[in-house]
């Protein structure tokens, strides 16, 4: 079925030489149960799905792994290095993730502050260099700082992922100007990661012209995650289409929509 976006000749969404059909990427954390997670992912239309690397819980059921619920043939599994505080830790987690055998993509997180979960940009750059040298396609979660984004691109990131607001905060896009500037200046895809809280946040974020959005808590912590996933799918498409359509200029004064001629005396 032809969509409005196709009519507008959108460019394919490609990262690291792979093309993806959805600009919405979703996480798999914090759902109340796995069935809700699976249905929410389905409703979101997302192809890229993030997962974390953790120890197998030897005392619990073996069903705890997320792959018992996700079909790796249908979803592109993007492993993250969430929880890592140093470049060395992040590289270790990335290598373990790659060994699982799905792909060489990694969502790189190097956390510098536990309260805000803001990235350690020095560790991020160091880890990016090591991982790129090791053949990884790195998608780096970063703050909305242009200079860091440029350095991540120079270091070989396949995509740069500035935050909308802190992870899990749901505060929405706090700095549209910075995100827009990063998108304008980078050649690699810019995917906003973290902070989106509801559909309008996703729509406004996509209207900045970024290539995609990654979200988790906005779905998992919604009252109805499946319905919110559907709303997010529509919002991402709406925001992308509005960006491609090109919005009207903002004016400080009113301009009438109806003719001034033909008014009665």
């Amino acid at each position: 079925m032809a969509t409005a976006v196709e009519t507008l000749r959108d460019t394919p969404f490609a990262i690291g030489g792979r093309t993806f059909h959805s600009r919405l990427m979703v996480g798999t954390g914090k759902y109340s149960d796995n069935e809700t997670m699976v249905r929410a992912i389905e409703a979101s239309g997302a192809e890229i799905v993030t997962v974390a690397v953790r120890r197998v819980d030897l005392d619990r059921t073996k069903q705890a792994g997320v792959l018992y619920h996700l079909d790796p043939k249908r979803h592109f599994l993007l492993a993250n290095t969430a929880g890592c505080a140093t470049a060395q830790d992040a590289v270790r987690y990335a290598r373990l993730a790659r060994e699982a055998g799905f792909n060489e993509f990694i969502k790189l997180e190097v956390i510098g502050d536990q309260e805000t979960l803001l990235p350690d940009v020095q560790g991020l750059l160091e880890a990016t260099q090591l991982l790129v040298r090791d053949g990884f396609k790195v998608l780096a979660y970063t703050n909305e700082d242009l200079v860091t984004a440029l350095r991540l691109e120079d270091a070989g990131c396949a995509a740069v992922m500035p935050l909308a607001s802190p992870i899990g905060s749901g505060l929405g896009l706090l700095n549209p100007y910075s995100v827009r500037t990063i998108k304008r200046r980078l050649k690699v895809p810019v995917v906003v990661d973290a902070g989106v809280g509801t559909a309008s946040d996703a729509c406004i974020t996509m209207e900045q012209g970024v290539d995609g959005i990654l979200m988790n808590t906005a779905l998992a912590a919604a009252q109805d995650p499946v319905a919110m996933a559907h709303a997010m799918r529509l919002a991402v498409e709406a925001g992308r289409t509005a960006y491609l359509a090109g919005r009207m200029p903002r004016r400080e004064v009113a301009v009438p929509s109806s003719p001034l001629e033909g008014m009665l005396d």
Binding site: G27, T28, G29, K30, Y31, M37, T50, V51, A52, V53, R54, R55, V56, L58, K62, A64, G65, V66, L67, L77, A79, N80, A82, R92, R95, L96, A97, E99, A100, G101, I167, G168, A194, L214, M215, N216, T217
Partner: protein, 70 residues
């Protein structure tokens, strides 16, 4: 002679069969080798090599997999 040795498995001390390979260790834990990644003394052991590597006393073994995350 004691037929078990102590290793550190996922951060906890555990007695395992002396001379066991990593593949045998997974089997004893009823874990499918295709569903976990094994790190032995900080080195990743590829799936096909799991039957070749034996654990020694004091070894550190990590068994990881994918869980839900953002």
């Amino acid at each position: 002679m004691n037929d078990t040795i102590d290793i550190t498995l996922n951060g906890e001390r555990r007695a395992v069969a002396r001379g066991a390979t990593l593949l045998e260790l997974l089997a004893s834990l009823e874990l499918d080798p295709r569903a976990v990644v094994v790190e032995h003394n900080r080195t990743i052991v590829r799936r096909l090599a799991l039957g070749d590597v034996r654990v020694a006393p004091g070894d550190a073994v990590e068994l990881v997999h994918f869980v839900g995350g953002g």
